[in-house]
């Protein structure tokens, strides 16, 4: 397994496009947070606002991590390198699990970097403007920050799982992006107009978003709660990745 992990890590870091995506994934939330905290009125600077900004913009980070997750496997199918990979490591599950581990760890590191650097940058700017911020400013403390890190890792795994199932880069990325934006959006609107509020919490991606929502439960929204929502989103993702891995093991490479 160690050999497979090393091999997959080399694969991930030797593609320039991955580094471009990582940089955008990190830069986007940081730029937004720094600009907002620098430009907003002093009395609007609060710890809870910074957490809200970081977790909100991290949705883009998570999506980009999902794109990288998808392309780690769809790229192999597209360029035919999957055959070289499976010829070098005939026990396919070893390869597939190694890819999943690398995808998840990378996402955890990137999102931790985003919220860590983002918080310290915001904190430094806020102090310079004589409005120091604390995690305790927010009712839910640091929980949404931890939640959004886990959320990013699960979205990365979701991208990887969709890549395993769909095998085609544009199609997998399209499903990854359209699922939350369109599919769950439409279902949400339909459910809303039908007056079925309770059904909202069963939407997997919306559930995942709850993990990093600083105001979770404050507005009386239906949800399973932060941890249970996360576990539900992870469960759906694990089923998708599991089916993808099972099929990839059985199908012709």
């Amino acid at each position: 397994m160690i050999d497979a992990l090393r091999s997959e890590w080399i694969k991930l870091r030797t593609i320039r496009m991955n580094w471009v995506l990582f940089m955008i994934a990190v830069a986007f939330p940081l730029v937004v947070v720094v600009l907002v905290i620098s430009l907003s009125d002093v009395d609007e600077i609060e710890g809870s606002n910074v957490i809200g900004l970081l977790t909100g913009t991290s949705v883009i980070t998570a999506m980009l991590l999902g794109v990288i997750g998808a392309s780690t496997i769809t790229g192999e199918f597209g360029f035919g390198t999957i055959r070289v990979t499976f010829a070098a490591t005939p026990r396919r599950m070893v390869v597939l699990v190694a890819k999943a581990i690398i995808t998840v760890i990378t996402a955890l590191v990137v999102e931790t970097l985003v919220v860590g650097v983002g918080w310290f940058a915001a904190s430094a700017i806020a102090s310079a403007r004589d409005m120091p911020i604390e995690f305790s400013d927010s009712a839910s403390g640091a929980a949404p920050v931890v939640g959004v890190i886990a959320f990013a890792a699960i979205v990365a795994l979701l991208g990887y799982g969709l890549g395993l199932l769909i095998r085609n880069t544009p199609a997998a990325i399209a499903v990854l992006i359209l699922w939350p934006l369109i599919a769950e959006g439409i279902v949400g609107v339909v459910l809303d107009s039908a007056g079925v509020d309770e059904a909202f919490k069963w939407l997997p991606y919306q559930s995942g978003i709850n993990m990093g929502n600083p105001e979770l439960g404050e507005n009386g929204d239906e949800s399973f709660g932060r941890v249970a929502s996360g576990l539900y989103f992870f469960g759906v993702t694990a089923v998708i990745a599991g089916i993808g891995a099972f099929l990839t093991r059985r199908r012709d490479a």
Binding site: D3, A4, R6, S7, E8, I10, K11, T14, I15, R16, M17, G75, F79, G80, T81, R83, V84, T85, F86, A87, A88, T89, P90, R91, R250, R251, D252, A253
Partner: protein, 302 residues
């Protein structure tokens, strides 16, 4: 030694490989020959457990490929030189491959040097020509210093110098008592590299024999005769039951007699000969004749 037995692979209704069996021994280059679409690549993918065979087995010294933990140490494979990520450098491509089987990084530089790609190892693969990719593929084959080598059409797209290089490498590997299986759809190319042939058509074995035997069995032979009195000789030969075809006013081609018989007949009837030679059909003719009933795609008349 590689043993393939009863290998069968279906894609829907189409049977791509049909009960195929053959053996590949060490110490010689075995050519895997068949027309386009005859199932060579599918066979190789099934042998490597990349495609799931519907029936049959392929064993490498008694073990299925899927049972080997770090196969690069034992079996080097080049299926298609195009199976690379164009954004990666040649060296990095070999690095991940080496890492997957616990091979040291130093080995990457060694094989790059062996195939003559050291100076371009840091260039992205999209800048590589097909010949350079074939060399990189061969570097991947050599990474683990394997005792068995399997290559699918390694000479495809190579210039004559490249083909010669591949041939020299394969013959060299066989001389070290390694097992070498190499596919091609060109017998002329194969005849230069291989000593043993496995010929297939429409997924079935046509025959396994030495290259010399194959050519001997399937190529056509005839006698070419040149004489200032060719008309007289023609009558004599036809009277003996030979089939005669004129080439020009002084030359004929004769089928149904040997060179010796034609010479003796000419001497007996006092015919002066300017040329008497045995002609052999080309390798391509022999191959086409052997696989005539098994061609997947046959062109219409032009």
């Amino acid at each position: 030694m590689i043993t393939v037995d009863g290998l069968t692979k279906r894609f829907g209704r189409k049977v791509a490989v049909d009960g195929l069996g053959f053996t590949v021994r060490s110490g010689q280059v075995t050519g895997f020959l068949g027309p386009n679409g005859s199932g060579k690549s599918t066979t190789m993918r099934c042998m490597l457990c990349l495609d799931r065979a519907d029936a049959g087995v392929a064993l490498f010294d008694g073990r299925a490929y899927g049972q080997i933990r770090s196969p690069l140490h034992e079996i080097g494979v080049l299926l298609d030189a195009g199976y690379v990520h164009p954004g990666r450098t040649g060296r990095n491509h070999l690095r991940w491959l080496a890492a997957s089987n616990g091979l040291p990084r130093t080995r990457v530089d060694e094989v790059l040097e062996t195939v003559g790609l050291t100076t371009v190892g840091s260039k992205r693969l999209r800048t590589y020509s097909l010949g350079m990719r074939q060399r990189l593929g061969l570097a991947g084959v050599l990474l683990g210093d394997p005792h068995t080598v399997i290559l699918d059409e390694p000479a495809n797209g190579l210039d004559p110098e490249g083909i010669r290089w591949i041939r020299d490498v394969l013959v060299h590997l066989a001389e070290q008592d390694r097992t070498v299986l190499v596919s091609s759809h060109l017998l002329s190319e194969m005849a230069l590299m291989a000593s043993e042939l496995v010929v297939i058509g429409q997924g079935r074995l046509i025959e396994q024999c030495s290259v010399a035997e194959f050519i001997d069995r399937h190529s056509e032979r005839w006698v070419r005769v040149q004489s200032p009195t060719v008309a007289r000789l023609r009558e004599v030969l036809q009277a003996e039951g030979a089939e005669v075809a004129p080439v020009d006013e002084s030359t004929i081609e004769v089928r149904g007699v040997t060179t010796a018989e034609a010479g003796e007949l000419a001497a007996r009837h006092g015919v002066v000969l300017h040329e008497l030679s045995t002609q052999t059909g080309s390798l391509e003719d022999a191959f086409l004749r052997a696989t005539a009933s098994a061609q997947e795609y046959t062109a219409g008349p032009l």
